[in-house]
């Protein structure tokens, strides 16, 4: 089987080259993060730093004097975690409830309403952002608060997840639900004790994707938040660039990269913990950010 061996080696070579290309920007980020300023701006860029300055992480995260607008790490971390957790709870509860209603209760309005909900899914976020901005800021007075970042998830805002869970709930055999009903279980009881536990894989997909999307979301906080103490990590990172543009050195790339690494790490950790749900979620539904 000389031919098979040849194909295998050829594939390996291509995969390794591809991986190097894919990994190159990450590698420069890692190496820049531990260089000192002199080496960052040295004439010839180096891949492996001459000295390792791990204290860069300390200055980037906790030293407020390094930039005109420091990377507000601790408050931003707190805000990101709060908003993400609230969104996960909100999406899992509200989307599953709405989806269960659509999947299990028949009425004349069922179909037109479902199509209406799906058509919202087609709207580009920028189209939605302006009316929601007017609603939240003018009518509810939520400018510079964290509410716009998590309250919508409690009202079934994520139509994609409703659609996904709807397909799941439809596959639960009605005999199971009927049996519970005959045994005197209330409708909400059936939902919480039978439908929800049976759809655990789908709910995990909803949770994991909500985590990634909320953690990575930059646009919504950009629109609503002005107070540095209310920044999320993504917004804080961008403001860190803005703050450095006026300073004597220009941007302190090593500190910026250190902050960058800290923002990325939780995503990588979640990916390795919940790898199964990513692969399932993407290949089942074709979900994209």
């Amino acid at each position: 089987m000389n031919r098979t061996k040849f194909i295998r080696i050829f594939t390996y070579i291509l995969l390794v080259i591809g991986s190097i290309v894919m990994f190159m920007p990450v590698l420069t980020m890692l190496s820049t993060a531990v260089k000192d300023t002199a080496e960052v701006y040295a004439g010839k860029p180096t891949i492996i730093p001459k000295e390792f300055h791990f204290e860069n992480f300390w200055s980037a995260l906790f030293d407020d004097t390094v930039s005109y607008r420091p990377f507000t790490f601790l408050p931003a971390l707190k805000n990101s975690i709060c908003v993400t957790l609230l969104n996960i709870i909100g999406n899992v509860l509200s989307c599953s409830l709405v989806a269960y209603g659509f999947a299990r209760f028949q009425s004349r309005w069922n179909r037109p309403l479902f199509i209406l909900m799906l058509s919202v899914m087609m709207l580009p976020p920028i189209v939605l952002s302006i009316p929601t901005f007017v609603l939240f800021v003018k009518y509810l007075g939520w400018y510079d608060t964290l509410y716009p970042l998590w309250v919508p998830s409690y009202f079934g805002f994520a139509s994609f997840f409703i659609f996904l869970l709807h397909e799941f709930f439809k596959c639960i055999p009605s005999s199971l639900l009927e049996a519970a009903r005959l045994d005197g279980c209330s409708e909400l009881g059936i939902f919480f004790r039978i439908a929800m536990p049976l759809s655990k894989p789908a709910l995990m997909v909803v949770g994991v994707f909500t985590f990634i999307w909320t953690w990575n979301d930059f646009f919504t906080p950009l629109l609503y938040i002005e107070d540095p103490n209310k920044f999320t990590l993504a917004l804080s990172l961008q403001q860190f660039i803005r703050g450095s543009t006026g300073s004597a050195f220009g941007i302190q790339w090593n500190l910026l990269m250190a902050a960058n690494i800290v923002v990325i790490i939780p995503i990588v950790v979640i990916f390795f913990l919940a790898q199964r749900y990513f692969v399932e979620g993407i290949s089942l539904t074709g979900m994209k950010q």
């Binding site: 591809g18 302006i130 543009t245 990269m257 993407i282």
Partner: protein, 240 residues
């Protein structure tokens, strides 16, 4: 007439035309490589190829802008090693700046690749084997067996890719933040349609105008999608 309207449309369409085909080809090629049987450590490669898709756009843009940095970036280090001269100023050049954002977007092809991989697993092995026994070359097998079977997946990725490319925003927004530093960006060359909507609404306070622009975008995306659905029956094959 909104003065930026036609310019931003031109930039956005050009970006879509560059990015979508290349990222489809790259993602499909990666999926084909990862689908080769009996390769050890496949999950490591899959992780490396997939992870960029999860990195926050703010973070990946910062990462790449340093790569593109004319004096200190690794790209121009390689350029100097290969060609012996100082490389171009990637982000300041009106023609290259758009390509740089395209590179960042293509780099995050992980989602598309995963969908292709799922599609490739549905290609019947016995048909591929039969074609091989009949003496079909690799390209003939790919063209006449694999492509028809994954054509619905190609269609899906194309539709989603075009919808996504029309809405690119964050990369250009972050890039323009770098102006006035060691990395300067040609902001006109990356003036995307959605960036213009953002600037009109949230920087100039012209919500009405921005809303109208957003609805035009919706109509354009809808029309692009409908056109693709119209031509779908010519090339998409459903095994039913």
């Amino acid at each position: 007439m909104e003065p930026n309207f036609f310019h931003t449309i031109k930039v956005t369409v050009l970006f879509t035309v560059i990015t979508v085909p290349i990222s489809l080809i790259v993602a499909l090629a990666a999926a084909l490589l990862l689908n080769v049987k009996a390769i050890k450590g496949i999950s490591i490669f899959r992780t490396i190829f997939f992870l960029p898709a999860l990195i926050p756009v703010v973070a990946s843009t910062i990462m790449w802008s340093w790569v593109f940095s004319p004096k200190h970036g690794i790209l121009n280090l390689l350029y100097a090693k290969i060609f012996g001269t100082q490389g171009p100023n990637w982000l300041e050049d009106p023609r290259l700046a758009l390509g740089c954002i395209a590179v960042i977007c293509i780099w995050g092809f992980g989602n598309t690749m995963m969908i292709f991989l799922a599609g490739l697993q549905g290609v019947p092995q016995n048909l591929l084997d039969a074609a091989r026994i009949d003496g079909a070359t690799w390209w003939e097998r790919f063209r006449n067996v694999t492509v028809p079977y994954i054509s619905p997946v190609i269609f899906f990725n194309m539709v989603m890719g075009i919808i996504g490319a029309f809405q690119v925003f964050t990369q250009a927004f972050i890039f323009t933040d770098f102006n006035g530093t060691t990395v300067t960006v040609n902001s006109k060359a990356v003036h995307f349609y959605v960036l213009n909507i953002y600037q009109q609404a949230f920087e100039n306070g012209r919500f009405g105008l921005a809303c109208a622009l957003a609805w035009i975008l919706l109509v354009v995306i809808l029309m692009m999608t409908l056109i693709q659905f119209y031509f779908k029956k010519r090339w998409v094959f459903y095994n039913e």
